[in-house]
């Protein structure tokens, strides 16, 4: 039996029960107390995140469920992010596909119709292993998302050796539901029937524990769930059909039935007859039934009189639907099999794992600095796959399904989707492992700011976010310090922008095979409402205006990943981010720009790629860049608060910026022509870089 419980935790269980639990009971405790389900090492700090605010309809309850915000006319937007890192390392196709399935069920379990998916993927590089991972991860996401008819509208793709052994596969989903029709995930009254839909099989046995320890390198394929997108589609359609007839619903995720039943009972009790569970294979033991993580299952709490009607919707599709037990007032979780008690544990014990605060220690950062010329740095950065055109990936997604994707993948830094009430939302996911590696606190702030800017770049103002915190082993003091620092940063920025964090997840134990933690990779997914007009950016001839101050900040950037840090850490400047974002939204509404991009990965140089790749040349007068004279910083600094704007009315930006108290400078122009950067009139031909930018992934991965 592979348990992740510590000896102290086991002692606590024994003393509370005053007996030795049987094997099945140990497995139930192990699942519920797993880091994956219990947040025992993170909860103390997660409480500092702002989870409420204007418009929040439903915020996170113990970080288990999706959050919801008001988007007008009685509609709520439901938002959730989750990773499937460990399964994807072992079986990238099924790992990624089931990640999509899981996040979709999180959304439908609130009664919401999923309308868009995002995927944020990080692998080691474009070597043989990275290619194998990436091809299968994209194919897995495509297979599931396309099959269920939910468009993947955006995401991120990053290549960094830190993820060689432990790729990160994050998927986020947004859904819509009338606020009055949101279905809770917990029950409040005893007597309700527990109805399970879907078959239970032998896949994903012990997946929650699997996710709560480092990858062993042994054969762990049995812990990976297998995706069945067709079943997933039936589950979505039928669940949304019956949502008005159920009192509570929960999807079966980590910890299977054990966790779903216990959390749904929420302090009340439950009695489950395991022999009633519809099985995919014969001869499963009661313990296996309890902790199996087979996908495409849902648990409903239903009034007796509604059971038939609920099950009829599933039977229409020949989908199994059975009453497996009921909610009772005595606060015990009891699983029986053919009359014999298999598990009998107090609800409170299962729901109250001991919380941990581990020792912390801030790591000493040293960076090797490599000498590099401006020309060489420019080529290397523009050729980096992190900045490359992602069409190879997103063209595998059915991003048009739903006829609501207004700004599509590859068109801008955020996707824009139309809501049923006619309004539009923008969504984007952002992480920054370079900055987090040097300063997790600044990074926490910066990723919130970046997401806020990305939404502004299409005309939307952030209204809610979810976070996903991905780190190494929390018992390592340097890892834990970064974790705590990043939450502090996220919390501070979220409060500053008044963007509540309505949900989230934590993923620890992301390490390479030598036990080194990945670079800290907290991730933010933010949704915003379009204020007036939205922007479909298009590159045309015009003036380039740079909003914000370019600081000598090359540490924690793509540049420093390649050539080592120089100058200061690339900090977030929240006020500058806010003011510049507001100016961009105003400019979009007054039709003062045709294209803009916030400055982030690869600095000013990185943001020029989409312009150069559209048949244009860029002329930049470096003396007009405000804030630094250092040639490397001018091109590659990733200091926050900046946007690059393409306009035929630069004066408007100068006037508006000075009114707001931020800086704007006309730093050059864009003309039709071959891809060249004229830096103070010196031509740097970039056709090779642009050609590679456009085709790199296609060439490497086809």
């Amino acid at each position: 039996m592979m348990l992740t419980l510590s000896s102290k935790e086991m002692e606590l269980v024994r003393s509370t029960l005053d007996r030795e639990p049987n094997e099945a009971e140990w497995k139930v405790v192990d699942a519920l107390w797993s880091e994956h389900c219990s947040y025992k090492s993170s909860k103390t700090f997660l409480r500092s995140l702002p989870t409420t605010g204007q418009g929040v309809i439903m915020s996170v309850e113990d970080w288990q469920d999706a959050g919801a915000v008001d988007v007008g006319d009685g509609w709520a937007l439901v938002l959730k992010v989750e990773s499937h890192n460990h399964p994807s390392a072992v079986d990238p196709y099924n790992g990624a596909a089931t990640g999509v399935g899981g996040i979709l069920r999180d959304i439908i379990s609130k009664g919401a119709r999923p309308i868009a998916l995002l995927d944020m993927i990080r692998v080691g590089g474009l070597d043989a292993k990275g290619k194998w991972l990436l091809k299968n991860i994209i194919a897995g996401i495509a297979s599931y998302g396309n099959s269920v008819g939910v468009p993947v509208v955006g995401g991120e793709l990053s290549f960094d050796p830190t993820y060689t052994d432990n790729p990160l596969v994050d998927v986020a989903c947004v859904g819509v539901v009338k606020a009055s029709e949101i279905v809770p995930s917990v029950v409040r009254t005893p007597g309700l029937k527990l109805v399970l839909v879907g078959f239970t099989g032998l896949d994903g046995i012990g997946g929650a524990s699997f996710a709560s320890r480092k990858l062993s390198g042994m054969d762990e394929i049995g812990a990976v769930q297998i995706a069945d997108p067709f079943a997933g589609k039936i589950l979505i359609d039928a669940t949304l059909e019956v949502r008005g007839k159920v009192e509570a619903m929960k999807d079966l995720g980590g910890g299977g039935l054990a966790v779903a039943v216990t959390e749904m009972a929420n302090g009340l009790g439950a009695r489950v007859q395991l022999e009633m569970v519809p099985l995919r294979v014969k001869g499963m033991s009661p313990e296996e039934i309890i902790i199996s993580e087979t996908q495409e299952r849902m648990l409903f709490a239903v009034k007796s009189e509604n059971v038939q009607e609920v099950c009829r919707a599933f039977e229409d599709y020949n989908y199994p639907c059975e009453v497996i037990g009921e909610i009772v007032s005595e606060p015990r979780i009891t699983f029986t099999y053919e009359g014999k008690v298999v598990v009998d544990l107090p609800s409170q014990l299962l729901l109250s794992p001991p919380l941990f605060v581990w020792p912390m220690n801030r790591k000493v950062r040293t960076e090797e600095v490599k000498e590099v010329s401006v020309r060489e740095a420019l080529s290397t950065i523009l050729l980096h796959p992190d900045l490359g055109n992602k069409e190879w990936a997103y063209s595998q997604f059915d991003y048009e399904v739903g006829v609501s994707t207004l700004v599509k993948p590859g068109q801008a830094d955020s996707a824009v989707i139309e809501l049923p009430n006619g309004r539009q939302i923008a969504v984007k996911g952002d992480a920054n492992q370079d900055l987090c590696e040097v300063d997790a606190y600044e990074c926490g702030k910066a990723i919130v700011a970046e997401a806020f800017r990305n939404l502004a770049s299409v005309g939307a103002r952030g209204i809610a976010a979810v976070d996903h915190l991905q780190f190494g082993d929390p018992r390592k003091p340097e890892v834990y310090q970064d974790f705590v620092d990043s939450i502090r940063g996220i919390s501070e920025a979220a409060k500053f922008f008044s963007v509540p964090i309505v949900g989230g997840k934590v993923s620890f134990h992301n390490e390479d095979k030598n036990g080194n933690p990945i670079k800290p990779t907290p991730l933010i997914v933010m949704a915003g409402l379009v204020e007036g007009k939205y922007l479909k950016p298009r590159v045309e001839e015009g003036w380039l205006v740079l909003l914000g101050i370019t600081r000598n900040e090359l540490r924690g950037t793509l540049f420093s990943r390649l050539f080592g840090g120089r100058g200061e850490v690339a900090r977030a400047r929240l006020m500058e981010d806010l003011l510049a974002s507001e100016l961009i939204i105003k400019a979009i509404n007054e039709s003062k720009l045709t294209w803009n991009k916030d400055i982030n990965k690869g600095g000013l140089a990185g943001s020029l790629l989409p312009i150069l790749a559209s048949g244009h040349a860029v002329h930049i007068n470096t003396k007009a860049v405000i804030g630094t004279r250092d040639p490397l910083s001018i091109l590659f600094s990733e200091s926050g608060g900046r946007f690059l704007v393409l306009t035929d009315d630069p004066q408007w930006f100068h006037i508006q910026a000075s009114r707001k108290g931020i800086v704007a400078s006309t730093i050059g122009k864009v003309t039709k022509g071959k891809a060249s950067l004229f830096l103070d009139d010196v031509e740097l031909p970039l056709e090779r870089e642009v050609e590679r930018y456009l085709n790199m992934l296609e060439e490497e991965l086809s």
């Binding site: 396309n146 063209s395 006829v403």
Partner: protein, 222 residues
């Protein structure tokens, strides 16, 4: 026209098609595969998606369903039948339309906006229509195949082309014979195509503000 939009388990585009059909004032409704009565409708659309998960082969399980017997009846009576994407796959799998749809040459799913030339205007769907339409494809198995290439060219209603309507190999997204994007039966009342007209029906969703998909769907509004 009273138009059924057929929903099989795994169909994903039924609501999108209904939304577009309402723009041309068709009397359209989603009909589940197990409650389809062909006598109640003058037209039927089989929308895109992954019917029965596309298990075995795209469209093949749906092609053998009771509902498709009803579609065949309608086709034989000269009523209008339109299969989009998976719907096209179902029509060829059921033998109502000729040929087969094979995996794309790149062996992967491809979403892309494509131009198609309208090569036949003798069908109720294409009478008096523009010469070149802009619509998106989104499929993994869309490579049209028919052994007799000459026949394929005769049946072809839509062929992938450049923006000015020239049918050239460079713009063939999936390796179809003769760049075939869609075909009709001899009579012209049954059409199947891989591009999605319903996704090219709302100007805010198209790259150039066009609504070429409506040109094809308009016949259901009559």
């Amino acid at each position: 026209m009273r138009t059924a939009v057929l929903k099989f388990p795994g169909t994903t585009c039924e609501e999108d098609v209904v939304k577009a059909l309402r723009l041309v004032k068709a009397e359209a409704e989603v009909v589940k595969f197990n409650s389809f009565d062909p006598d109640r409708y003058q037209g039927v659309v089989i929308p895109g998606g992954f019917s029965f998960g596309d298990y075995l082969r795209a469209g093949t399980i749906a092609a053998n369903s009771e509902a498709m017997k009803g579609v065949r009846e309608m086709a034989d009576q000269g009523k209008l039948v339109l299969g989009i994407c998976n719907g096209f796959q179902i029509l060829v799998e059921s033998g109502i339309l000729k040929g087969a749809l094979l995996p794309n040459l790149k062996l992967r799913f491809i979403t892309k906006w494509t131009y198609v030339r309208v090569s036949r205007k003798d069908t109720p769907f294409t009478r008096g229509i523009k010469d070149v339409l802009l619509m998106p494809i989104a499929h993994a198995e869309g490579r049209y195949y028919l052994e007799d290439e000459e026949e394929a060219r005769e049946l072809a209603v839509f062929q992938y082309s450049n923006p000015s309507g020239l049918v050239v190999e460079e713009v063939n997204p999936n390796g179809s014979v003769q760049n075939v994007a869609g075909i009709a039966n001899q009579a012209g009342n049954v059409i199947g195509l891989m591009p999605h007209p319903e996704r090219a029906s709302f100007s805010k969703l198209t790259p150039d503000g066009s609504t070429d998909g409506l040109e094809i769907l308009r016949v259901f509004g009559k």
